[in-house]
Symmetry: C2
Subunit: 437 residues, 2 copies
Amino acid sequence: MENKVEPRTLPGFMELLPNEQILFNKMKKAIQESYEQFGFLPLDTPIIEDSKVLLAKAGGETEKQIYRFTKGDSDLSLRFDLTVPLAKYVAEYYDKLSFPFKRYQIGKVYRGEKAQRGRYREFYQCDVDIIGNGELNILNDAEVPSIIYNTFKKLGFDEFTICINNRKILNGLFESLELKNDATSILRIIDKIDKIGNEAVKEELKEISISDEKIETVMKFIKISGTTDEKLEQLEELNIKNETFEEGLNELKEVVKYIRVFKVPDDNFCIDLTIARGLDYYTGTVYETFLNKYRKLGSVCSGGRYDNLAEFYTDKKLPGVGISIGLSRLFFQLMDNGIINADNEAISDVLIISMTDDYDMCAQVATSLREAGINTQINIENQKIKNKFKYADRLNVKNVIIIGEDEIKNNTVTLKNMISGEQNSYSLEEAIKVLKK
Amino acid sequence: MENKVEPRTLPGFMELLPNEQILFNKMKKAIQESYEQFGFLPLDTPIIEDSKVLLAKAGGETEKQIYRFTKGDSDLSLRFDLTVPLAKYVAEYYDKLSFPFKRYQIGKVYRGEKAQRGRYREFYQCDVDIIGNGELNILNDAEVPSIIYNTFKKLGFDEFTICINNRKILNGLFESLELKNDATSILRIIDKIDKIGNEAVKEELKEISISDEKIETVMKFIKISGTTDEKLEQLEELNIKNETFEEGLNELKEVVKYIRVFKVPDDNFCIDLTIARGLDYYTGTVYETFLNKYRKLGSVCSGGRYDNLAEFYTDKKLPGVGISIGLSRLFFQLMDNGIINADNEAISDVLIISMTDDYDMCAQVATSLREAGINTQINIENQKIKNKFKYADRLNVKNVIIIGEDEIKNNTVTLKNMISGEQNSYSLEEAIKVLKK
């Protein structure tokens, strides 16, 4: 190719083939509809923000990953999550919003991570958050699992588990053991239990000079098991006299009670006391969600309660609770593991194929089908009939309408079901009825 | 605010309040559904591209506006339209696509224009294009106005006009007048006729040394008027013996014939021989669309036919035809002129308000309503009843369900219509029926 630029997409940037994109969009739409069913308001903040605003809080690893650049005099950055823009938004429009402020945002975020398979530098996050003004009822923490449940059902999943914990239980435990200052390190070690196992966790705890006795209490705590109610009972039985612990336990009990009122089946949620999540951000309830058969994929929907959303922008206290689905990564994982498959995805319900050079009836039929709400494409290229059907195959359309001399003469259409191969002659009205079924 | 960063959004970046965002999203969805009704496949290319790829064609004014920066070793740019990414995509995945390739893309693009009211640096474009492999039937040019018509009807407009021209007619005219080398300058001058008027156009044509005689022919051509059929007749009567002209006129006649077959009313389209558009890009049919009562807004949907989409990336000849709606700007203009109004937009169909501290029934009712497809929010904050109704008002919800001691005792709900003020007691099943109406 002389003087041509090679058309290539940057590594780490997801770009799908049309049938994959149709499936991706279906999932995005299902998530959006689920979020709207719970009354969340849509937001669409800019992808570019003033660096000073966007990085008010950031630091360390995150800051290194940020796409930051100047344009004219402006120091700009691309958003790396949807939470910081939400904090900015709520602080900026505080007077114009009604609290509790329930918003969802589905959009692309940017992180210059090391390129590796299934890790994207541009990826969709699908977030919901409920922001209170000063305070926010714990019942909101119980509605969140109901949102997760509804959303994953809409995505076509049945076997998934929403794992719930409360950071105050862990914090209270550490306070009561006078290990508060080691809490961060301990949590970081506990967080690895699924990966490295009990013994390695104990070993690492020893390495940071935790006494054997205290390690035993911690491990006893971690080993709490059984049904949700059994776990709550065992937590009670620990009989830990600590305000934070008791507050956390009461919140967890309230959340469990209302999760059930919201009709989330016991099969779809559990208490998991090992979940710590984002060490300094979350302050109460935390969530992780796993596909039962594909736990190795990691959490597919996570979040939790935080005390103060926008402290870098405003003195107003704005507690919140929310979750996020990393849709691009989830989509990749589901495709990669053959859990979903885009082979038969189509936009058009029907393709109209003309057997003659007279396209009048094709155009008329197409307009009528579209008016009836049927997605309709016409093949109006001068191709061989064989190639027109090949085109229908490649588009995955389920139905083809054939219009030839006979059809024009008799004012009928021939409708061919591309799956069964069945082919019948109909009036246009009859064909619409068949297609609408 | 001590130590706080001022939460501010960059100038030139649209950020909407929730009710405005709801309306914006409705419009975006209407456009998407209309595009899908015509069988266009969705694409979602990255916002960031390799500068070498993205700027293969760009230059001059556009290049200055581009958000271009480096990250590590990479020279990156944000897309400034959806056409260049389409060209890249079609060249990159040529072997995996079926032609004609019909795609739509709705997404944000970036141009660092001078900040001015109603001009955005980040804005949505909503594009459809049909790309042929080697050739593309002229009937596609007739289907495009049908897409525009369907889309603006779905957006709620009746009084709009799709103006159509064919660049070959103008080019052929210039060729026949031996003014081919001046064509670009003449077109640029003619393009201003709506703004500066006939006489100023003549004056400017004189200034570039066009003879009076030729100016008269050009002006006679421009003054062609009447109905669509009268214009076609007058074009015939010019009796210009030039191959390009005749080709353009034949294409225009074919397009007009099929626009009517596609049932676009004569009230909603016209031939406008003054439309030139994108001087070097479009090669055949061109479109502009105006709201009849708000012509001053300029074209709200434009596009046309081009000979070769991806010549910078591939030797393959890929002719296409497409249109674009600049949704962010359109939305601003419609709001700014009071043509649309977001005052009553709501996501939730119903807000559940509890009169007691017992939220069990609220949560149960909410879950049942959501299962029935009704967008439902619960007010579960410890607020005064007055404030709960104020919240309902500010959310614009049309219905409130009130659950108090009586309702819990009788297992009923009180449904209040917030517009009529009417209030009735129902069983949950009855309430769902009323809300579904």
